[in-house]
């Protein structure tokens, strides 16, 4: 299994652990391979104040060393910090690198924000384009059902200035895409709220990058020349403010749906980006969004002759199979099971989500994101738990517990009721995994292939980040293939969107992909339904 390009050698990982305290928060920070303290904190909920891109020029990111060994103060720090403060352990987080484990105190954190930095190592590397002479800035946006991911670029130099992700605030209006569409359908006013909510969230993310990573906002907004947005069809319909109910009509599900805003001028005005060409990457069909197209661009599976299968797990799980000539594409309801929503103790991949479960000397070991106290399970942790419950014979392949469970379910950590797993959660998961596995098998049948023919199985979306492949195959979510052939790309959607923003030939590749795509609607296909029922049992495919 490889996280990124298999050809690039992985440098040895050197990690230092830091304890970072503020007056009302404590967190464990792992600093890898010489990352600065600011870079590491930017990916957490405890961020330093900042107004430059980490160059040490603004002096805002003051933090104090309590103990541990760090690099000596840099020139920038000696210019920005008075000698007596330096002697007192005061440093700039953007210049500070750990040499050993240690402890830091952050007296003045940045005001709380939903936005966090993304791990950029998996994202796109751009060459730059000298031909772009004005309005050189650009933004790539992956508008997901639960999360928004975006990055900001100097298109001319090809430099990524910053990247961010956050919960999509629309989640508050309904966890499921269809629920939100329902809201869209029910009232014009609600729909307007949803449209503006998404637009406001995106521009706030961009402004967060500008204020922290450049240090000025309005002048840069005015210099943005291009903004590219990918997403699933429902999200794109909502952000465009479309008022037709076409997504409700099944005959439209397999057809291309046009998502174009009618109010582009007022949209630009609201964002204060007068020169921005706001491009909505058109979805492939009513139930296959342009996020899948972006995944395909990022993974480049259609640019090679060998068969490959790609799945992007989410509220809808989108699946594409490339057989060397044709791209078979479909989507199935993941149910919100893979994003934690709807399960009693389900959580999206956020602080406190149990992301890995193992058993050691008879004890359950629960690993959570940011090492916070467990607040529930995200998809990967739930799959681990199910696989282990099966191995322990506490759970049967039918999805039944061997013994009746109390109302709170089977609790893995007796001291924490949020680690309970209920029969209804397992039911939801069984249906989600059965529809995924059945869809994969059905597309393979259409293409005349078997799982053994696949050179690569791509798992896109943040769901794959902590996924234990053995367990995913054990419970029958993925067909059993050699693990060396599975590749994970968490931010594939954003990465592909960046390609479209920056790579002049990406549009041509995209056109080839859509030209070769065969959209398959699996609902009502008897063969698929039989596979679905056959795959409900918790066993390998």
């Amino acid at each position: 299994m490889s996280m990124t390009d298999p050809d690039s050698p992985q440098p040895p990982v050197n990690t230092n652990m830091l304890l970072v305290r503020s007056d009302n928060q404590v967190l464990q920070l792992s600093l890898m391979n010489g990352a600065s303290v600011r870079e590491a904190l930017d990916a957490t909920e405890l961020r330093v104040r900042a107004a430059c891109g980490g160059l040490g020029t603004c002096g805002a990111c003051l933090i104090q060393i309590v103990n541990g060994n760090f690099n000596p103060p840099t020139l920038a720090e000696r210019q920005k910090i008075r000698p007596e403060e330096l002697a007192d352990g005061m440093r700039l987080a953007c210049q500070l690198r750990a040499v050993s484990d240690g402890e830091l105190y952050l007296q003045y954190p940045a005001p709380h924000s939903q936005w966090k930095s993304l791990d950029a190592s998996e994202l796109y590397r751009a060459a730059g384009n000298a031909a772009i002479a004005e309005h050189v800035y650009g933004a790539a946006i992956d508008l997901g059902t639960t999360h928004i991911r975006l990055s900001f670029w100097n298109r001319q130099s090809g430099r990524r200035i910053g990247s961010r992700y956050s919960i999509n605030p629309q989640v508050a209006c309904g966890a499921d895409v269809l629920t939100r569409l329902d809201a869209d359908r029910l009232s014009n006013a609600d729909s307007q709220v949803l449209t503006q909510l998404a637009r406001k969230a995106i521009i706030e993310g961009i402004r967060d990058i500008l204020s922290r990573d450049i240090g000025e906002v309005s002048p840069i907004l005015a210099e943005i020349g291009k903004i590219t947005i990918v997403g699933n069809t429902a999200m794109l319909t909502l952000i465009c403010g479309s008022r037709d109910d076409s997504l409700y009509e099944p005959e439209n599900w397999q057809l291309p749906i046009t998502c174009q805003p009618a109010d582009i001028e007022s949209w630009r005005k609201a964002w204060r980006t007068p020169h921005a060409e706001i491009g909505i990457v058109q979805p492939l069909a009513g139930f296959i969004g342009s996020d899948l197209l972006a995944d395909l661009l990022a993974t480049a599976i259609t640019e090679q002759p060998q068969p490959a299968l790609l799945a992007d797990f989410g509220t809808n799980t989108e699946i594409a199979l490339w057989d060397g000539r044709t791209l078979w594409a479909s989507s199935v309801p993941g149910g919100p099971a893979f994003e934690g929503v709807g399960m009693r103790n389900g959580l999206s991949a956020e602080t406190g989500a149990v992301c890995k479960v193992s058993k050691h000397n008879g004890e359950w070991l629960l690993q959570t994101l940011d090492d916070a106290p467990a607040r529930g399970y995200c998809g990967s942790g739930f799959i681990d738990a199910i696989a282990l419950l099966l191995d322990e014979k506490l759970l049967k392949p039918s999805g039944r517990f061997a013994e009746p469970q109390p109302v709170g379910g089977y609790v893995l950590d007796q001291g924490n009721f949020r680690t309970g797993i209920c029969p209804a959660d397992i039911d939801m998961f069984q249906r989600a995994k059965a529809s995924t596995a059945a869809a994969m098998l059905q597309l393979l049948v259409y293409a005349g292939l078997t799982a053994n023919d696949l050179q690569t199985l791509w798992i896109c979306g943040s769901f794959g980040r902590h996924l234990d492949l053995n367990n995913a195959m054990r419970v029958g979510l993925l067909p059993t293939v050699d693990q060396d052939r599975v590749k994970l790309l968490a931010n594939a959607g954003l990465s592909g969107c960046e390609k479209l923003l920056l790579d002049p030939v990406a549009q041509a590749v995209l056109n080839t992909i859509t030209g070769r795509a065969r959209v398959v609607n699996l609902s009502g296909v008897t063969e698929y339904e039989e596979r679905f029922v056959d795959n409900l049992r918790l066993k390998p495919v």
């Binding site: 999805g399 039944r400 039911d427 679905f532």
Partner: protein
């Protein structure tokens, strides 16, 4: 001896283990049981027991529902091939998901249960117009049209069972063809079936199959 088959078959169904269920049936056949006995004394009682258990058991789930119905339908189908005389069908049903509705799995459970109860089922699939339902009922001389709807707007919509009712009335077929409905919205409002012009509804697969058999008896001479 027969209790042994019942017990092990029920266990296999309870574990939703199709292969184990088929193994029990094959053992019973090779021990001299007739295919008729397998269906009427093993499969149907087990299906009813299991569905009853699922309804009452807070721990049971929809996945088990699907698998149980599928096992019953598959085993029955295999046994029917072996019947000494082709059994006389109880009646014939046209089933499908309503116009605009692509949820086709709910009706699958009903179909499985109907087949186990010796009812012929013609499944038109999903997103079926009222005209298609009625035309099929006439062509196939079916006694019941079963319309599944999983969303409020497909249950209540003008192109759903309301229009099936209108067409039956127009063509003077209301005495010959009955309408049964099912799906999530009906579970929230037990009176909803009347508003959409149906003759009956059911909350689950086995009840649906029984309700439909009842409707067939009302119509069939």
């Amino acid at each position: 001896m027969f209790d042994f088959y019942i017990q092990s078959y029920n266990e296999a169904v309870f574990d939703t283990d199709k292969q184990a269920a088929l193994d029990v049936v094959n053992k019973a056949l090779s021990d001299g049981l007739s295919p008729e006995d397998v269906v009427f004394k093993l499969v149907i009682p087990a299906l009813e027991t299991m569905m009853g258990r699922i309804e009452k058991d807070p721990d049971s789930n929809l996945a088990q529902h699907f698998m149980t119905a599928q096992i019953a339908a598959d085993v029955t189908e295999k046994m029917l091939e072996k019947f000494a005389q082709p059994p006389e069908a109880v009646g014939r049903v046209i089933i499908g998901a309503a116009h605009g509705d692509l949820h086709s799995l709910g009706k699958r459970i009903v179909t499985g249960c109907l087949k186990a109860l010796m009812v012929e089922v013609i499944d038109l699939g999903a997103n079926i117009s009222a005209e298609q339902f009625v035309a099929a009922a006439i062509d196939e001389q079916a006694q019941v049209i079963a319309v599944s709807a999983m969303m409020a707007h497909t249950a209540l919509g003008e192109k759903g069972s309301l229009q099936v009712r209108a067409l039956l009335r127009e063509q003077g077929l209301e005495d010959k063809v009955k309408i049964a409905v099912g799906g999530a919205p009906y579970r929230f409002d037990p009176e909803l079936y009347i508003k959409v012009g149906a003759d009956a509804w059911a909350p689950d697969g086995v009840t649906a199959a029984k309700v439909i058999v009842q409707l067939i008896r009302e119509v069939k001479p």
